[in-house]
């Protein structure tokens, strides 16, 4: 049963990533693209966690954590750059 | 010859070494969670980190946030978690089933009664995480919050709900 649920989750998350990719390409604004990247990071974290359950190893946890941190920092940096024209003032 | 005259340090030894007990406890717990197994050595490393990081970064923490009532703070966290789940279902239903023309998106301005910066931060964060609202900006003098509502037919009622549900509780938690 878990295998089935994991297969479904793979499908759903890949579809979600495709949606995000569409939004990333279509825009129409900068904020849309930042939002798309941010959501993509969140979906990828979910994908990594599900993959960790699939392989039944806790090894991928660190990857997910690092992804979460990088996603947050990069989103904030993009927004800061738009507002101030500089990331570290 | 010293020109600077420091006032005598009246803090106790404990207060000098552990200026932020909560921060120390949080850092230790986070270290233990990262290690993901309990061992005395891990606890010691966590304690060393928990004691040294607040001292190294002391200039960023001029004083402690004063939480008046820890029981109410815990109840508030539970309420917010419940609201997050409800919010998820509501927003999911709006996304899936509502015709887009019937959405009443609007901006509302919430005048703040809270004055404590930490309380305002928690309030803004709570608003973002709960049903159909995102806090977008603070006024330049810090007395009002700009909130975007995904679906609010009645703006006055939306503002009243948020103030009654979260702000009144936060006022009791943060003095």
């Amino acid at each position: 049963m878990i295998e089935l649920a994991i297969q479904y989750a793979y499908g759903a998350l890949c579809l979600a990533l495709l949606f995000n990719l569409w939004r990333l390409f279509a825009g129409p604004g900068v904020v849309d693209r930042i939002l798309a990247v941010d959501t993509m990071v969140i979906n990828v974290i979910a994908l990594i966690i599900i993959y960790g359950i699939d392989q039944s190893t806790p090894m991928y946890f660190e990857a997910a954590l690092i992804f979460a941190m990088f996603g947050f920092v990069s989103t904030v940096a993009y927004c800061k750059f738009i507002r101030r024209g500089d990331v570290i003032e | 010859m010293t020109t600077h005259h420091h006032p005598p340090d009246e803090r106790t030894l404990f207060e000098r070494w552990v200026p932020h007990p909560l921060l120390t406890a949080t850092l230790t717990v986070i270290w233990m969670l990262l290690a993901n197994s309990f061992s005395v050595g891990g606890l010691l490393v966590g304690l060393v980190l928990g004691l040294s990081i607040p001292r190294i970064t002391a200039s960023f923490w001029p004083d402690r946030p004063h939480i008046q009532n820890y029981g109410k703070a815990f109840a508030y966290v539970l309420l917010v978690i419940y609201d997050i789940i409800v919010a998820n279902v509501q927003v999911a239903r709006i996304i899936l089933f509502r015709p887009l023309k019937s959405l009443n998106t609007c901006w509302v301005c919430i005048p703040l009664d809270l004055t404590n910066p930490e309380a305002i931060t928690v309030f803004a964060g709570t608003i973002t995480m709960t049903p159909g609202t995102v806090s977008c900006d603070l006024s330049a003098d810090g007395h009002a919050l700009l909130v975007h509502c995904l679906d609010a037919p009645d703006r006055e009622a939306a503002v009243r709900d948020m103030k009654a549900r979260y702000e009144s509780r936060l006022k009791e938690i943060f003095p």
Partner: protein, 125 residues
Amino acid sequence: METFGEIIVSALIVIGATFALIGSYGMLRLPEVMARLHAPTKASTLGIGGALLASMLYFLFFENTLSIHELLISLFLFLTAPITALFMAKAYLHIHPEVGEQLPKPESCDWSTYETPSGNVRPRT
């Protein structure tokens, strides 16, 4: 117990993936930027929460190890989601000053994206 664990873990995985999908779909479907901002900040947090809870319970039930560091990721995401949303909203307001003119105004001054806060606005007491 095994079947019970299987059902719970599978349900959480399915719920989490579904909410993540709905969040991304909302970002595709909703008509304007600010409305789109709502979809991922909410639907995705529960998506991640479901997946992490499933991972925790899976290791508890089937590997017999108590793994609580998943809580760390969910805590991190729950703390940072409002911050990223606020930053994106402020970036949007900064790019579109014409939106700012239609906003409801606070009593004495403008929003801080358009007006520089003067010094230490509210001294601590």
